[in-house]
């Protein structure tokens, strides 16, 4: 069976993560939170990483940003290559902390789920947008303030001349997330990592933020990594999707192909859990939950990680640890039975 070619020159992508392994060394044992993840994202493209709690999706993002504390977390394998503005290809894992801090917030920016805890409560939002401009772009205090007002306008904050002097607590959740986006975009990053940026927001505000991210990405040609648990959002925002389960990517490919023709039982199962509209006769659709629970990260199962919860598991699924296999083009799956299953 054809296996995925990972030898492709990583230099062609904005970000190229190959066989990444991030492990946590805890008192209870080693948690292999990210175990052999390979991903890439190109200019102007959106990659969604989707999975449930504990799948490793957020740790993947944090590893790229090198934001994990050094006490327990360790990258034990793999590489992360980033192609910066000058087209230079950098191995992020090899950079010194100082060199990384120049890239972080400048070339690669990140936004998080909870804007209240990522904004500093004692500085005005204008100061926080301006800080990044002064540090990374060397703007004057005045210049940075004017630029900050412009950025706040760009992310859809009304009356930015007034709001620039507001403190985070004076703004609503949606407004704070807009401010976070302004901070992230301040230096015109090549890559934006958004970790569940709309999960804490109401649907109407979520729709506004998604719309804004799409618009800005189109204008700025950024690469965007969108980490989410919500497959329905994936459809709206992403070009590519990587489905993660128990520290591994189990299926990846163009969104249309993966969602319309999932080739991994876990992707199918996730789709079946989503409540959807009633059928034509007005009957309620019964939800099909995934039986069992996420495997214990301290002792993941042998073979396919999903076998214990999979409706199609066979003895060989326990015996063989599946590799990613090519379905078609860029669509890959980590299931040995993908060809025979009618999912």
């Amino acid at each position: 069976m054809p296996q995925r070619d990972t030898s492709l020159a990583p230099a062609q992508h904005v970000l190229s993560v190959v066989d990444l392994k991030t492990h946590f060394f805890t008192d209870a044992g080693v948690i292999k939170a990210v175990n052999g993840v390979t991903l890439s994202v190109d200019e102007g493209e959106t990659l969604a990483i989707v999975g449930e709690s504990g799948s490793g999706k957020s740790v993947t993002g944090l590893t790229v940003m090198r934001l994990l504390g050094r006490t327990t977390a360790k990258v034990v394998g793999g590489s992360i290559h980033f192609r910066g503005r000058n087209e230079e290809n950098t191995d992020l894992l090899a950079l010194s902390e100082k060199a990384m801090s120049r890239i972080r917030g400048h070339d690669i920016a990140m936004i998080f789920q909870d804007p209240m805890s990522s904004l500093n409560p004692v500085f005005t939002v204008g100061d926080q947008v301006a800080e990044s401009l002064r540090v990374h772009k060397g703007l004057s205090k005045r210049g940075a303030r004017l630029q900050a007002i412009e950025l706040l306008r760009q992310v859809g904050i009304s009356e930015p001349e007034k709001r620039v002097d507001a403190y985070p607590h004076e703004l609503s959740g949606g407004m704070r997330q807009r401010v976070m986006i302004a901070v992230a975009l301040a230096c015109d990053p090549r890559l934006l990592i958004a970790d569940e940026p709309t999960t804490a927001l109401d649907v109407t505000i979520q729709a506004q933020i998604i719309d804004l991210l799409r618009k800005l990405q189109k204008e700025l040609r950024m690469a965007l990594i969108f980490v989410t648990h919500d497959l329905k959002l994936v459809k709206q925002i992403a070009d590519h999707v990587a489905v993660m389960y128990a520290s591994q990517v189990v299926e990846e490919g163009p969104v249309d192909q993966v969602l319309a023709n999932p080739r991994h039982p876990y992707t199918r199962a996730l789709l079946d859990c989503i409540p959807s509209r009633r059928d034509g006769d007005g009957n309620r659709r019964t939800l099909k939950p995934i039986p069992g629970t996420m495997p214990n990260p301290l002792s993941p199962p042998d073979g396919c990680r999903f076998h214990a919860r999979c409706a199609y598991a066979q003895p060989e699924c326990v015996a063989i640890e599946p590799e990613l296999q090519v379905v078609e083009g860029k669509h890959v799956t980590r299931c040995i039975r993908w060809q025979e299953l009618a999912l």
Binding site: M175, V203, Q208, P275, R278
Partner: protein, 327 residues
């Protein structure tokens, strides 16, 4: 609400209003209040699931709490099976609580971490049903089995359970006193989708098996569609629309309902209009229709009078003066 609906109802709510006083108002300024719930009337029939949807700050949780008299209303009344809850004294109310229970969003916060699951289940059994010793234990185990857990789970503490399992325990505890009405406030919002589906199925099965009336509060419209018979849409403390679930989702009559449906991530229709702005402050709500400041169809008259909730077709009500718009 019509009188025929009230005669069939298990719970009837009339003109329910809650204003929370704002603390820290300085001298000389008029006292302000957060108008959380304004003049809400509704009924829940025995065995019926009524969904309550709206954005944060729409008053949906407060409505749930008012219906159980966990907070005292500023005005209005709640009648449960003929009994006006406002007329009950503290002791009588405590006794009455066995008929109506609540399930909360966060199963990590709603269970006492120092109590074994068995003890947590036996507490309401002893308190409300007067069961003792062996009987209470047997009943606690029966409850655990009802929600898909087993006997040996009874001796463990909440920390030993996953989020989904904890929510099952919270459900078992709510069912312990054999209530007829349950308020579930975002019961699956904190759970992963695969677990969420599981807990929803459980709630639906138990609700049908026990003929429970359920007030299901959620911001997630797709979840609400699955489990409810009727849906009430709230905005800034006021009812915007009430209808049977299919009616509401197929033919939303209020611009706010339409906007909510279109904002949901799974929306597939052609005309997608993203609602601008945010929910205004409940301290100073807009005059007239509270939604007018964000409504794409607002006209001058919308600022004049508060629209009444009118019946459009059997059981379908909306509070909007405009009938000349296509949503």
């Amino acid at each position: 609400m019509s009188t025929t609906e009230e005669t069939k109802a298990l719970v009837t709510v009339r003109g329910l209003t809650k204003h929370f006083p704002v603390r820290g108002a300085s001298f000389g300024k008029p006292a302000q209040a957060v108008r959380a719930v304004e003049d809400v009337s509704l009924t829940v029939a025995p065995g019926e699931v009524l969904g309550v949807v709206g954005e944060s700050g729409s008053g949906k949780s407060t409505v749930g709490r008012l219906m159980l008299r966990l907070v005292e209303p500023t005005a209005g009344e709640v009648i449960f099976d003929g009994q006006n809850l406002g007329a009950l004294g503290p002791t009588a109310l405590r006794k009455f609580r066995r008929h109506m229970q609540m399930i909360f969003q966060d199963p990590f916060a709603s269970l006492n971490s120092r109590m074994t699951v068995g003890d947590a289940l036996m507490e309401p059994l002893k308190l409300h049903l007067g069961l003792k010793g062996r009987d209470a234990e047997d009943q606690a185990v029966a409850l655990l089995e009802k929600v898909g857990l087993s006997t040996d789970h009874a001796k463990r503490y909440p920390r030993a359970f996953s989020g989904g399992q904890r929510q099952r325990i919270a459900i078992a505890r709510a069912l312990a006193s054999s209530p007829r009405f349950i308020v579930a406030d975002e019961p699956v919002s904190a759970l992963d989708v695969s677990v969420q589906a599981d807990v929803l199925n459980l709630m639906q099965n138990l609700q049908q098996e026990l003929g429970l009336a359920l007030l299901f509060i959620s911001h997630d419209l797709s979840v609400v569609e699955v489990i409810t018979d009727r849906v009430m849409v709230l905005y800034l403390g006021r009812v915007m629309e009430v209808a049977r679930t299919e009616d509401l989702y197929d033919n939303p009559a209020h611009p706010y309902t339409a906007a909510l449906l279109q904002a949901a991530p799974g929306y597939t229709g052609e005309s997608r209009q993203i609602l601008g702005g945010e929910i205004p402050s409940p301290i100073a709500p807009p005059s007239g229709c509270v939604f007018r400041t964000r409504c794409p169809f607002a006209i001058a008259e919308c600022a004049q009078t508060i629209p009444i909730l009118r019946e459009l077709s059997a059981g379908h009500y909306k509070a909007c003066i405009r009938d000349d718009i296509t949503l």
